[in-house]
């Protein structure tokens, strides 16, 4: 893959595109934007793959984070955050409907929906961190809870998710 050929791209695309697209979509919640971001993400991956260092972590995580970060950047640059905050109550329902429309092969409910199944205060934290790219400090300010509580809830939420995934 690091040789930069078309076969390499095909491999990358075949194996990762739907997972990456899924995550990007969860962030930007718009199909056209998600497609743009996926393209940006792939170009970024392609240009930097020579610099990917296997000792630093799994390539899968690396790739996923490139795309997730690109999606969060896009979301921020569009000033979407304020809008989403207002829509907060609706977006999960909205998102599920959208997901059903676009998904052809998903038979299980993923992280977003699982997150939705968590306690509300936990849900908000994972959502803000993973899908909105908030730092803990920002989360603490946004939800008006102390930083220590953010950490505790973050851990509790992840433990709860981990049990569900049985990892």
């Amino acid at each position: 893959m690091q040789s930069g050929s078309r076969e390499g791209f095909n491999y990358l695309y075949k194996n990762y595109s739907s997972v990456l697209y899924g995550v990007i979509f969860k962030v930007v919640l718009d199909e056209d934007t998600a497609q743009d971001v996926l393209q940006e993400g792939f170009v970024k991956i392609w240009n930097n793959i020579a610099q990917y260092d296997a000792t630093k972590g799994r390539i899968y995580t690396w790739i996923l984070n490139i795309c997730r970060n690109a999606a969060i950047d896009k979301l921020r640059s569009k000033g979407e955050i304020m809008k989403r905050k207002i829509q907060k109550g609706e977006h999960i329902v909205d998102n599920l409907a959208n997901t059903r429309k676009t998904e052809q092969q998903t038979d299980t409910i993923g992280l977003r929906a699982m997150v939705a199944g968590l306690k509300p205060e936990y849900e908000a934290i994972v959502d803000l961190a993973y899908y909105k790219g908030y730092t803990m400090d920002e989360i603490s300010k946004t939800l008006s809870v102390p930083l220590g509580t953010v950490k505790t809830r973050m851990r509790a939420a992840m433990q709860q998710l981990r049990q569900k995934f049985d990892v």
């Binding site: 739907s18 497609q35 998903t106 950490k151 851990r155």
Partner: protein, 295 residues
Amino acid sequence: MNAQDYISSGLLEAYVLGSLPFSEMEQVAGAMCRFPEVKQEIDSLESMLLAAAEKDAVTPPRALEESIWAAIQNALTIQQTNTSEKGSTMAIPLEENFERLAEKDAPKTIALSGKTGIGNWARAAVWVALVGSLVGNYSLWNGRNNDKQEVAVLQQKMQGMSADQTALNDKIARYTKEAEMAAQPGIQPIAMLSTQPGHPMAATFYWNKAKHIAFVSVQKLPPAPEGMQYQLWAIVEGKPVSLGMMDNSVVANGGMQRVPDAVMAGQIFCVSLEKEGGNPSPTADKIYLMGKMPA
């Protein structure tokens, strides 16, 4: 912080969710090198997120594959023309690449303003190229910043690793010494275990009965508080006999020391926490470790 502190701190969760500020990110990266348990926990959290992402997978529209490939080819061509001009290859570091591009842009702009005879199309084309190049520079600059962060993280990791290695070497030396000690003829090892439920503590007492010499090796014992010291005892026919004091630094580093006094006899050996310098008899509720001479 030790490995368990990291695991229960919530920092690792924040790390994999990408919501740590840079300074703490470095801290976690360092901890990941020092403690295998921390790395394992992070791996496991990442696996969970990947598994979750897989369940969230959505197939993108079919046409997207070709358009992405075209975008990649396009980006590649831009890179090649940008770099081939100076006869360099794509392998040059991003930082250098960035500076080369910056140099290259300057004369281009001057040439543009100097010539008045170019047509609008050519002018537009140059502007497009210029804007493209600026966008390119920005993304290179971004990339360079990412690289810098990565370098910092790696440096942190390296530091952690070399500290690890020193600690590991010390540990190995200690274990070797201990293994040799235990293997000596006439040495009786006695495991001393915690007497305080819920507080796992342990040390090993090595007694050479014939020579009346003993050593004590600390496996796990909390550091003695200010003004306190651990005292060693032998219980001889039901009566405690002091064997001397333990060195606080040995306790803190989990090392081994010679038992100060001669060990003439004993059926039970214990360690209690006493005031600095010791007491004539052990404080009953401060006896932390106890081990029986095997029958």
